[in-house]
């Protein structure tokens, strides 16, 4: 098993990024316009990268399957974005943000990347503010902060409950400025269906126009995937309906290693599922845990309404078990504890599938107006969905799949194992280890897009000055187009009995059961048997009506679900291989007597990056050893 080279620069953690920026090659401004870069995705990562690359002078072409770059799933992030500004003088620093993030990730992330992330976090806030992102302010007109899970300082910047929307609008507007000038070519409603390589390097992409089915080839000197996460492998998740794995999965099949696929995050505060027809789960921002208190009835099977249960008969279980962090323990810990409560018959609500998140004490202390100011839109959203008023009765919440820490393996330069192919934002695996802390995904997406990739990509491009991209009439492209068209034709020709959604839902059930909050050897082995069976059935029995040459939403979905099948199997195999519990990956065989995650540092302080071996053979695991020179590996304790 060969190890992977992460290309982490030498030097002390504080100097690495600076030294690296100095040592990598630059492309001179006059030469930048000789290069073209394709960016797939226009979320925080893609839009910020595309705008910045264009400002630098590169030719940029952006594709998104949305009808406008501003619709990317980043828009729905609610709670906030971290930065080490220490505006509140509470002892925050770059080092502390770095430390918290490594610890929060349960010591499974790459130190150098995380430090760099913390370093550029402050620039992001400056950049976004200058763009006009209306962050929350204090009465003096300066920026306000709130605290988030896994941290004991207030470092989260926010714009009401719509932080992602506002940051995305900032990045989108920067991109729109470049589109308006004609320096970015923006292609909406177009989906990447294949990554094309030539001589082992990225050559371009194949996309399908979702309006008329045209399949076309596009080539460039480098390709950047900013295509988000894959939580929708679970069918029900907090992600937008269209989020999928196709771009990074197609890249995987072309040689980009897939790292830590089993590291997924189940978010503790979502509205519980109400029935089978449910199409997605709605997140209630984690920021609510600042003021809300989580509890269940002490007695199992207590079905009285919340208002009839006296204080003395309530169990504020997080405050009881984790007195130091209380309701602000990291997500994985909060989620697993909620599952334990529901599994032991302490669940509440009509289906007994939730726990309470109660604002009564906060309202008594701060007044309803303050709570409304802080969370008004979230409370409204909750009421709209459940028909319950959370100012009067406690919210019902339960964990739901939310974020994927795993993703395309990248080195320190954010380049995948395919030269010239980059992955940024949630699509890569780099910064969050086995668990992501709240408010750090927005930070990472924008760090990658505004401040990291635009530098590191130059080092690769420098070698290709005056070398034209592979022409799109080259064999590699025409073949790839034919393959994509074939695949589409096959889906349409299957003419089976069941809808795409039916298969997706069944796959999701297997994944949630066996590869969700708790995983066991037995369950994973079962899933690894069942998934290929279901996939076979899918291939012979899926029904996609209509034609390729029109706006056909079932046809869009079927390709995405086909890729989810392959990914699901790899996730289970990765989870089975990782004989330890860490962060969001909890193996029942590996826990302490108190039921906490038990890591196995001896054997698993590494990244598992899986290498594609063709469709008929399982992937090979390659390792990147993780070296901790600064943070000492310790058992995470939030007690």
């Amino acid at each position: 098993m060969t190890t992977l080279d992460s290309k982490v620069p030498a030097g002390s953690i504080e100097d690495k990024w600076n030294n690296h920026k100095f040592s990598i090659r630059l492309v001179n401004p006059a030469n930048k316009r000789k290069y073209s870069v394709i960016v797939i995705g226009s979320g925080l990562a893609g839009a910020s990268a595309a705008a910045t690359l264009s400002e630098l002078g590169y030719h940029v072409k952006v594709f998104t399957y949305h009808d406008s770059p501003r619709r990317a799933h980043s828009i729905s992030a609610q709670g906030g974005i971290n930065a080490a500004k220490n505006y509140h003088n509470d002892g925050d620093s770059i080092y502390r943000l770095f430390y918290d993030t490594v610890k929060g990730g349960d010591y499974r992330s790459r130190e150098a990347n995380v430090y760099r992330l913390a370093e550029v976090s402050n620039n992001i806030i400056d950049q976004a503010t200058a763009q006009g992102v209306p962050f929350a302010r204090e009465y003096g007109g300066l920026l306000d902060n709130r605290s988030f899970g896994g941290a004991q300082v207030s470092r989260t910047f926010y714009a009401r409950g719509q932080t992602g929307q506002q940051l995305l609008l900032g990045a989108y507007q920067a991109l729109a400025k470049e589109i308006g000038k004609g320096s970015v070519e923006m292609v909406n409603r177009s989906e990447l269906l294949e990554v094309v390589t030539h001589d082992g390097r990225a050559a371009g992409v194949i996309v399908r126009d979702l309006l008329n089915g045209d399949v076309t080839a596009h080539s460039a000197h480098a390709v950047v995937l900013a295509t988000g996460g894959y939580s929708n492998v679970f069918f029900l998740s907090t992600n937008a309906m269209a989020c999928n794995t196709t771009a990074i999965w197609r890249a995987h099949r072309k040689g980009a290693h897939f790292a830590n696929p089993c590291y997924t995050q189940i978010h503790p505060t979502c509205i519980p599922q109400s029935d089978e027809s449910q199409s997605k789960l709605t997140l209630m921002s984690e920021s609510l845990r600042n003021d809300g208190r989580i509890w269940v009835p002490k007695a199992p099977g207590d079905h009285r309404p919340a208002s009839d249960i006296p204080e003395s008969e309530r169990d504020y279980y997080l405050e009881r078990i984790y007195p130091a962090f209380g309701n602000l323990v990291p997500r994985d810990v909060a989620s697993r504890n909620a599952k334990t409560q529901v599994d032991t018959d302490h669940g509440i609500g009509p289906l007994r599938n939730g726990v309470y998140l109660d604002f009564k004490h906060a309202i008594d202390r701060l007044g309803e107006d303050t709570i409304r100011e802080r969370y008004g839109n979230l409370f409204e959203m909750y009421e709209r969905i459940t028909d319950d008023n959370p100012y009067a009765t406690p919210m019902r919440i339960y964990p739901a799949p939310h974020y994927t820490m795993g993703g395309t393996w990248v080195d320190y330069n954010l380049m995948t194992s395919v030269p010239g192919l980059y992955a940024i934002g949630e699509a890569n695996f780099s910064d969050h280890g086995a668990n992501r802390l709240g408010a750090s995904a927005l930070m990472q997406g924008l760090a990658d897009g505004y401040f990291v990739l635009p530098y590191t990509i130059g080092d690769y491009l420098a070698d290709y000055l005056n070398v034209d991209p592979v022409p799109t009439d080259h064999d590699v492209f025409t073949k790839a187009i034919a393959e994509v068209q074939d695949r589409t034709a096959r889906f349409l020709a299957t003419k089976g009995r069941r809808s795409v959604d039916w298969f997706h839902r069944e796959l999701g059930k297997i994944m949630l059961e066996e590869c969700g909050m708790e995983r066991s050897r037995e369950g994973l082995e079962k899933a690894i048997r069942e998934i290929p069976q279901l996939k076979e059935e899918f291939e012979s029995d899926v029904k996609v009506l209509g034609a390729n040459e029109s706006f056909n939403q079932s046809l869009e979905k079927v390709g995405r679900v086909a890729d989810f099948f392959e990914l699901a199997e790899l996730m289970c195999r990765d989870a089975l291989d990782r004989e330890e519990s860490c962060g969001g990956h909890f193996r029942v065989e590996h826990q302490t007597e108190e039921g906490e995650a038990l890591r196995n540092d001896e054997d698993f302080t590494h990244v598992s990056a899986w290498e594609w071996n063709g469709p008929d053979e399982p992937q090979t695991k390659r390792k990147e050893e993780l070296v901790f020179e600064n943070v000492k590996l310790a058992t995470r304790s939030y007690k």
């Binding site: 620039n123 400056d126 719509q162 507007q173 920067a174 027809s277 449910q278 009506l545």
Partner: protein, 253 residues
């Protein structure tokens, strides 16, 4: 519950469309409006009829992708609510529900209920940004923003770009959208340098695509984010000032 739907079906931008009647049976009360359409689509698929095309994504009222006319109202009967957040409990068993796409020249129909709203992007590209290349920003706290100004800017910035305002307007005007985009930036100290060029560029672009505003106010009622038409007044004020002053005296108070 059981409801009867009358849904606009149209196979492509250049084909004739028409209403088709469907029965939606056994719909759970707590299903959302779009989940109801999902159920109908599953049913159509089972019967070898092509599902109804409609745009949607986040299903939490923030991406702005969804939006249909429901019984003649943009996003349906609930105030301040996008189609995806509307729930079937707002309807009664046996109701007939008419569902159509946004109707406006600026938003051509793509298929069934999906329309092309790219004209909105053109308006933003014309000037809906603050020119601040990456890396050139000063420390964020160097620019204090009075809290009420930040709040007002946020009220405008809450726009999700769904197009309901245009669909609701008898003239298919896009004043509410454009003014929200203008006000978001023009109300902030950071947005002052380009304040007058911005408003002119955006309004001029808007006029290429959309009708004229005659102060009906339907847009504010249809807006899922309840964005106030006061922003239209702000936009008009800045536009008139810009036209008079050409922005050259903008440094003077």
């Amino acid at each position: 519950m059981d409801v009867i739907l009358s849904v606009w079906r149209q196979t492509g931008p250049n084909t004739e469309g028409g209403f088709v009647r469907y029965e939606a049976n056994n719909i759970p009360d707590h299903a959302s409006f779009l989940e109801m359409l999902d159920i109908v689509n599953e049913d159509l698929n089972d019967r070898d009829e092509e599902p109804i095309a409609f745009d949607h994504d986040c299903r939490e009222g923030i991406c702005g992708m969804c939006g249909v006319m429901i019984n003649g109202q943009a996003h349906g009967p609930q105030l301040g609510t996008a189609t995806c957040q509307l729930h079937m409990r707002k309807f009664k068993d046996g109701d007939t529900i008419r569902i159509e796409p946004w109707r406006a020249d600026g938003f051509p129909v793509i298929r069934d209920l999906a329309v092309d709203r790219s004209a909105f992007d053109r308006i933003v590209e014309a000037g809906g940004f603050i020119t601040v290349p990456t890396g050139s920003a000063p420390d964020a706290n160097l620019i204090p923003v009075p809290k009420p100004a930040a709040e007002a800017s946020m009220d405008a910035a809450a726009c999700i770009g769904c197009g309901a305002c245009v669909a609701a307007c008898p003239n298919s005007a896009a004043q509410l959208f454009t003014s929200a985009k203008v006000a978001h930036l023009n109300l902030l100290p950071q947005g002052q340098a380009e304040r007058y060029t911005r408003v002119v560029a955006m309004v001029d672009e808007m006029e290429q695509w959309f009708g004229a505003c005659s102060n009906h106010g339907e847009c504010e009622i249809a807006c899922p984010k309840s964005i106030s038409i006061d922003f239209i007044a702000l936009m008009n004020r800045d536009y008139i000032r810009a036209k008079f002053r050409q922005g050259r005296l903008a440094g003077q108070r």
